[in-house]
Amino acid sequence: MKGQMLSISLVVATGITTVVTMRGGHDSLAVAQADYYAETRFADVWVSLKRAPETVAADVARLPGVAEVESRVTALARLDLPDIEGLGMGRFVSIPRDGRPALNDIRIARGRWLAPGARDEVLVSGKFAEARGLAPGDSVHAILNGRLRVLDVVGIANSPEHSYSVPPGGLYPDDERYGVFWMGRDALGSVYDLDGAFNELVLTVAPGADPEHVIADVDRVVDRYGGQGAYARDDQVSHRVLQSELDQNRVMSTAIPGVFLLVAAFLLHLVLGRMIATQRTEIAVLKAFGYRDAEVGRHYLAFAFVAIGVGAIVGTVGGVWLGGAYVELYGAYFVFPELDFLLAPYLLMAAAGVSALAAALGAMGAVRSAVRLPPAEAMRPEPPPSFEPGPLEKAGVGRVLPSAGRMILRNMERRPMRVALSSLGVAFSVAILVVGMFAFDGVLYMMDLQFRVIQREDLTVTFQEPLSAAVRYDLDRLDGVTRVETWRSVPARLRVGHREREVGLQGLEEGSRLRRIVDRDGRIIPVPSRGVVMSRFLAEQLDAETGDMILAEVLIGERRSAFVPLAGVVDDLMGVSATMSRAALDDLAGGGDVVSGAYLSVMDDHRTEVESGLAQAPVVATVASPGTMYETFEETLSESLYVSIAFLLGFASVISVGVVYNGSRIALSERGRELASLRVMGFRKGEVSVLLLGEQALVTLLAVPLGWLIGYALVALVLASLDSETYRIPLMISPRTYLLAAGLTVAAAVASGWVVRRRVNRLDLIEVLKTRE
């Protein structure tokens, strides 16, 4: 009994731990996010533009629905970082003359604010400072608008805009190489020739106003200043990543604990039911002494509540403890000024409530049967169970089975519900593992496709301004460069009917080999000589099909627009892309034969040299290395995946151990006498164990395919809750995941079977000869 109650408590504890940890973590993050946004007056809308006089900000402020506006200067600049492979990048953001941003305010973690009028002082983002070991008093070398500047770090700051800080073109934080810098408006503005002007606006929307309308109005106002399309908070990278994380978390923190509590209720039902069956006589005696039904019922209910209560308490304590670590893990990716694990009273009450519900649910049927038993009947031993061949046997399965097999089969067919629920329980354990390990499959497939099939260049170069296509010959001449392919990108608005969408329209060279258009199955789609190829995601947003004419409005330069045919739709996995041949894009956008950047193939031993050489060139804005990106990603991913898989494995084991251990203990209790008499008749320990554990083995085997199915469905559910604009992880579960999930669950089942098997060795053979059950 002790072992069984303990295993039930463990299942409950795990369920409550997950709910307290995950839901508590979710709440903590949500509260930290809300507080942070409110305190720093986080903007609702962003718009970048080329250059606009300060009066334009006032024009925007007067638009209906706009609450507050702040103009600023932002720039991306190269950093000259010692002892680092690859290129350092800084996002520079201006701070108003009077000291504090009205919107997207920052918080100083250490150090001080910028001194008024200081030209070389900067505040540095916390993650970057931490990764680089920077403190107030240190200095950083940056190349601002082509000139090397030595900047004095006076403080470490954080902003809600960069809670999740991703370098341009990157996918994951890279704090060693990318940081955010805040600089005085005058100092930064004069470097970029934006005195009295700005190149970015952030604004809040008045309560009740429609952000979509505001965005449209803002676009209209800033259009002539090189506006690049306003976007709402939902499209702000840091916010979007955080929000998607929170949404996912909310789904999982409800689903997973639910599974555990259902399993606990089922196990409790099994164990209590058996306990009452063996205690018939005691119940009868109590009733004969005049105990009321309610009192007898209460006695068994108390068992349920103790088992579940212990689990709930342990789970809560464990959850609070793990919750701290969980929130800390988030702290490694998202920066919040105050992120503490919060345990809301409602959560504790909910945990207690659902635990009580599980206890009541599990105990209900069993206790009712105990209460119903008339004393006289209860005094007599339970009548021998009656059996008959089940449907499987009638179908002919029985004929090929030895008697031992029929014994197992009939015991299962006699209680189909118990078998079904046991299988379902173990299946959840398989499913949890499938979901956990799928992350490896899906994400690795996607990343592999992205970095080994699509982005095959060694270096991606982006220029400050579009350059003549002849620049390719300069690049070609660099030592170690074996192939150069140029590309152009222009912001454009694509329109089909009343649907529209802003994208970066990309022009690739025809026959491009370093950068290719590839669908989710790895099929390569050639760059069309006419028309545009776009992501299926985008085509669906525009409700466009191959052959449709799309109105493309270029948002820069001469702002030309023209109809282009949709040449193809690519079922791709990451981002949203629209690609044309570079020649076709030149025709569309005008400005001559110009390029925004180039993809380079470089010999390995010349990589660093070429990279740092390009980084020094004033015309070059950024040099990125997809290989480095992939490595960073793999490191981050594998670390967090291993942690989560370890946890999921623990969770899954708790379930399969709970189900199999209790199932075999109950089988032993119900059929111990039967099995002992077989031992007397000369059956070996192994043979008797097969009879005892065969049922659990079949339950586990049934659970495997069922678990695969449930796992598949859960993966689909999780994928549906992901932000599909950033990436669309393909629902492809590898055989390895299926096999591992099954193998680990079976191993846990075997281990619990083994524990119970040892009891077979201790069966009292002599007792069997004497007593009747």
């Binding site: 009548p383 021998p384 169970p385 009656s386 059996f387 008959e388 030895p402 008697s403 031992a404 029929r406 014994m407 009939r410 015991n411 006699r414 006498r673 039967e674 008499s677 077989l678 031992r679 007397v680 008749m681 000369g682 059956f683 070996r684 320990k685 043979e687 053979l765 002599i766 069997v768 000869l769 004497k770 007593t771 009747r772």
Partner: protein, 232 residues
């Protein structure tokens, strides 16, 4: 002689007290005989049956099955001894409720070396027409006969029966005893029946009476009492 026990003692330590269940018992089981082991509750007859059945070990003494000393065998060795050579009939039948009469028998014949067919075994106990019934569908006497068929189907050298009529009424008990008698006659299996019921003693070839852990006397029945004359 198939089984020979010499100087068997068994002491149970019950707290501070030592209980001598057996005191230097010598006993033999002859080839093909039907022996009745008679004794009151606590006389040591069950302890004796457990030891010669390979379920328990004596504190002192030896038991030879043919020329093997059971005392020297480990647990697995005793299991093999029971599996190959001993058939057991229990007071409460201990049939497997999920198996029919035939399947209860074949469960054993499937692991035996040279068994008779389950059908023949059930025929021997007069249950050829009840083969497909489950235990819950049979009377106590029928269940006990299935148990006897199960015990003899593997053609053991020794059949040990522990109070086989203990849970049955007189008429049914007599029927079961007649089946045991007949099995002994037809198969020649050396049989030991344990009972506290002196009336049964007459059916045996030899009656060993036990008292206080010792063999009180051994009587050889010259003419066995026919079962219809036995009453209790």
């Amino acid at each position: 002689m198939i089984l020979r026990a010499r100087g068997l003692s068994k002491i149970y330590h019950m707290g501070e007290v030592d209980v001598h269940a057996l005191r230097a018992v010598d006993i033999d089981l002859e080839e093909g005989e039907l022996m009745v082991l008679l004794g009151a509750s606590g006389s040591g007859k069950s302890t004796l049956l457990n030891i010669i059945g390979g379920l328990d070990r004596p504190t002192e003494g030896h038991v030879w099955y043919e020329d093997r000393d059971l005392v020297q065998l480990d647990d697995d060795g005793l299991t093999e001894y029971r599996r190959r050579h001993v058939g057991f009939v229990f007071q409460f039948y201990n049939l497997i409720p999920s198996l029919t009469a035939r399947e209860n028998v074949s469960l054993v014949t499937e692991i035996a070396r040279d068994p008779m067919s389950p059908e023949d075994a059930l025929g021997l106990v007069g249950l050829a027409d009840r083969m497909n019934h489950f235990p819950a569908q049979m009377s106590g006497g029928e269940q006990q006969r299935v148990a006897i068929a199960r015990a003899v189907a593997k053609q053991p050298r020794i059949l040990l029966c522990d109070e086989p009529t203990g849970a049955l009424d007189v008429e049914t008990g007599k029927l079961v005893l007649s089946v045991l008698r007949e099995v002994n006659d037809t198969t020649g299996t050396s049989t030991a029946i344990i009972t506290h019921n002196a009336a049964i003693a007459g059916m045996g070839d030899r009656v060993v009476r036990m008292s206080s852990g010792e063999v009180a006397d051994v009587r050889i029945n010259e003419g066995r009492t026919p079962l219809d004359e036995i009453v209790w």
